[in-house]
């Protein structure tokens, strides 16, 4: 018995040794200091300075929901609607349920110029996206982990309490179904982030053309803050899809990926 536990202990130690690099990773740069300073600059209405500091934190490779939210606010104050919406959308990936963020995003959206055809998005597609946006990937991962741990706990209790086997088995089946559902949601969300390149138009007004050439005909117009999906890129041009399904080519410098 002792030997078994020794083996387990050794195994766990080995696992943690493998994962040691992530434990030992230390941040040399302190983003909290810059964040506080940027927030006080914002309070003094020095929005451009605040933007510079917030962007500095991002350039060091750090991100947080509040950072994107504040950056969105600062851009909105400066009148850069596209950048504001971009950062709000980035914040939404961390805190989709945050009421402040929702309010600001709605406000920014109301400032956005819309093409008349833009609203013609499928009702079902819109509802599905709204539903999927509720869940963050980390939230889903934690939910998945909790269900998994509960299943393990219940299975372990069967070992000791065989009389409760049937009763516990029902719970395990329900949890198993929940696990699969959450796993599906998580897979879809990971796919959306990693493979569907959602972006926000930054330029005030741009023409989406039929071909990646300046001389070709304009298919439709896009305005700052419009959400698009980047389908492919070719040299300095990108083929994009608007939410109503219209496809055109724009110069890649006119948008940024969320």
């Amino acid at each position: 018995m002792l030997r078994t536990f020794f083996t387990i202990a050794l195994f766990i130690a080995a696992l943690f040794y493998i994962g040691g690099d992530s434990f030992s990773e230390e941040f040399r740069y302190d983003p909290y200091e810059d964040f506080t300073e940027a927030s006080s600059l914002y309070g003094e209405s020095r929005f451009q300075d605040a933007v510079n500091l917030y962007e500095g934190i991002l350039s060091h490779g750090y991100e947080s929901a509040s950072l994107y939210y504040n950056l969105g606010n600062a851009y909105l104050k400066l009148g850069f609607l596209g950048s504001a919406v971009l950062n709000y959308e980035r914040a939404k990936r961390f805190i989709p349920y945050d009421s402040d963020l929702k309010a600001n995003l709605v406000y920014a959206d109301s400032l956005r110029r819309q093409s008349p055809m833009e609203g013609n998005r499928l009702w079902l597609s819109r509802k599905i996206n709204v539903f999927l946006d509720i869940f963050t990937i980390n939230g889903l991962t934690l939910a998945l982990s909790s269900i998994y741990l509960t299943i393990i706990l219940l299975l372990s209790s069967i070992v000791f309490k065989k009389t409760m086997r049937r009763f516990i088995s029902k719970f395990v089946i329900i949890l198993g179904v929940m696990f699969m559902l959450v796993l599906t949601l998580m897979t879809i969300n990971i796919y959306r982030i990693e493979h569907i390149h959602s972006a926000i138009v930054l330029a005030d007004e741009i023409n989406a053309r039929f071909e990646p050439l300046e001389s070709t005909a304009v298919n439709f117009r896009l305005y700052a803050g419009t959400k698009i999906i980047v389908l492919r890129t070719r040299d300095q041009w990108s083929q994009i899809k608007r939410e109503d399904g219209k496809i055109g080519w724009i110069e890649s410098s006119n948008y940024d990926i969320i």
């Binding site: 018995m1 078994t4 991100e63 504040n70 606010n73 909105l76 309010a103 819309q114 980390n138 991962t141």
Partner: protein, 594 residues
């Protein structure tokens, strides 16, 4: 034969020879066939060039003519029987699109093919500035279709109205009609629409129609637009570009089939005239903000129950119906001392509806109702203004606590001071003071090595627990398994004891111990009662089990030795004891491996 006949024969031969030469050297005429000699600047016509006595002739390049754009369409072979003789001809078809007004001549020109000169005549085309009649209605469109029914390909444009009010939405259809040719790479039409605001064309629809006995394929593009200016406005022409793919009459060497050729084509439609009327000033409602169409208007509030002073009431205003939704703005709500009214915003928009939301914060419990909201629009069908009034909507406002009240008033003051600032400086919720947990960009829990490893631990513990429990359970329930498992352990312990007796040179006790060790070992290993095990019993058990015969002899001899040593210990020295000890170890080791 007389001299006269000889001379006649010679004259005939010479005449025939020269007439043959003359015939072979004669030029052939190219037949030029035009659809029409008079066309408007926005139109196009077809030119057929027929080369007699040719087959599979490639299309000649025509010289460019200033003011005309000549595009090659296709080639066909024709065969006819005349006076019992089969005659062939090649017909090349071109589309001529005028670029400017004037009289233009095509030809004469010559083409040399297989040593024969083909010479054309001259064809004149008169291009006028006349705009073809406005044909906005369906019937007129049918007339257009029938008028063009002999053409292989043409472009028509039609609108559902020819008289509209400013900002009134109407629809346009651009149809590309073609027959007997294959067309590809069709681009969206480009439409000159100065003075109009136009949506993009919807995805094209394909259909078939028989016009005057000809079967046409039709590609239809639809869109909607509204005029921005009043007066007589011109719409069009619509231009569409595509490639036509025609079977070349020239055989492709080696392929055994006709080669297909692609030609870029551009067609223009006629121009439509639209009479745009201004919205009348008579009886225009005060709050009319340019809505043209036929609409319905509804209003609702949330929450519907009692609301504390300072809490938000969201007013939802939905406008639905047919008309120019793009230009619709939210109906205004009157300002009051009893509440703060935020700017309205567009919440949702569909094809035939627009939903606005406006937030209202009650400043005191004196507020009894939200004043009526009026929405005015001009109905172009009935040619009159209409006003829909909704409300007043009753609200129940209750007093908030003191602390909340002071905060609300403070907010209200701030809002009033912000009121004159630019739009962007109000309306957003303030920044967050706490940064939350910073993480590396793009790092998520699901790809965090530490997290994934920690997730494997519970599973590992569960599997270990399950294995331990199963083993223990078998130990308890399966005696044979338990005895086999403990046999080696007990044997090790007994050998240890025997070793110490060997060191003490206690012969009798040593042999008793080592005998019992082997008895116990075989008892456990083969699930036998240990006390009764003798050399005979062991032999009886081991023989049928295919063990090595030498080891069976060794076991038997070991048990006999032990029996003798127990009764005559004085005959056994330390050397014998060591030999017996090693023998016991060897036997146990063998069966452990077996």
């Amino acid at each position: 034969m007389s001299m006269f006949y000889k001379i006649c024969f010679a004259v005939c031969c010479v005449t025939l020879f020269f007439s043959t030469i003359a015939t072979s050297a004669q030029d052939k005429e190219i037949e030029l066939v035009l659809d029409s000699k008079n066309i408007p600047i926005s139109g196009s016509i077809r030119l057929d060039m027929i080369f007699p006595d040719t087959q599979g002739m490639s299309a000649p390049e025509l010289a460019e003519i200033d003011g005309l754009k000549i595009t090659y369409l296709r080639s066909t072979n024709a065969a006819s029987r005349a006076s019992g003789m089969l005659k062939y001809a090649t017909k090349h078809t071109y589309v001529i699109t005028p670029q400017q007004v004037g009289v233009f001549s095509i030809g004469p020109f010559s083409v040399n093919y297989n040593g024969v000169d083909y010479i054309s005549g001259k064809a004149d085309i008169r291009v006028g500035s006349r705009i073809l009649g406005v044909s906005p209605h369906k019937d007129e469109n049918v007339n257009d279709e029938e008028a063009r029914a002999r053409d292989d390909i043409f472009l028509l444009m039609a609108t559902d109205k020819k008289k509209v009010y400013i900002n009134q939405v109407f629809h346009i259809v651009v149809g590309l009609y073609y027959r007997d040719i294959s067309i590809t790479d069709i681009q969206y039409p480009l439409l000159a629409h100065e003075g109009f605001s136009m949506d993009e064309f919807h995805a094209p629809q394909k259909s078939r129609k028989t016009i005057k006995g000809y079967n046409y394929n039709i590609i239809t593009f639809r869109s909607s637009l509204f005029p921005l200016l009043s007066g007589d406005l011109k719409l069009g022409p619509a231009t569409i570009a595509f490639n036509s793919q025609s079977q070349s009459p020239i055989d492709s060497p080696g392929l055994g089939e006709k080669a297909s050729k692609k030609h870029s084509l551009k067609l223009k439609s006629t121009i439509k005239e639209i009479a745009v009327l201004p919205v009348p000033d008579d009886a225009r409602p005060e709050n009319f903000n340019g809505a043209i169409g036929n609409f319905d208007f509804n209003i609702s509030i949330e929450p519907k129950g009692p609301v504390k002073v300072g809490d938000a009431i969201v007013i939802t205003m939905e406008i639905s119906g047919n008309g120019n939704l793009a230009l619709l703005s939210a109906p205004g709500i009157d300002q009051s001392e009893d509440y703060i009214l935020y700017e309205s915003y567009l919440k949702d928009e569909g094809k035939a509806r627009k939903v606005f939301e406006q937030t209202l914060i009650p400043k005191s419990s004196a507020l009894q109702s939200i004043p009526p909201v009026k929405f005015s629009f001009f109905d172009p069908e009935e040619e009159r203004f209409k006003v829909i009034t909704k409300g007043p909507i009753e609200v129940q406002i209750i007093e908030a606590g003191e602390e909340e009240k002071s905060r609300i008033m403070e907010d209200a003051d701030n809002m009033n001071s912000d009121y004159d600032q630019p739009l962007l400086s109000k309306g957003i919720v303030y920044i967050k003071d706490f940064p939350g947990r910073f993480k590396r960009k793009g790092s998520y829990l699901h790809n965090n090595k530490k997290f994934l490893i920690s997730q494997s631990i519970p599973l590992f513990l569960y599997v270990s627990l399950l294995l331990i429990y199963k083993r223990r359970e078998r130990f308890q329930n399966d005696i044979r398994y338990a005895r086999i498992k403990i046999a080696d352990k007990q044997a090790r312990s007994a050998l240890k004891k025997a070793r110490s007796l060997l060191n003490d040179s206690s012969v009798e006790e040593f042999y008793v111990a080592i005998f019992e060790c082997l008895q116990e070992y075989f008892g456990n290993k083969f699930n036998l009662p240990s006390a009764g095990i003798t050399s005979d019993i062991v032999e009886h058990v081991l023989r049928p089990k295919d063990f090595d015969q030498n080891i069976i002899i060794k076991v038997s001899s070991f048990f006999n030795d032990c029996d003798i040593a127990k009764f005559t210990p004085y005959r056994y020295k330390e050397k014998d004891m060591l030999r017996s000890f090693n023998q016991a170890k060897e036997i146990i080791s063998y069966f452990k491996k077996a």
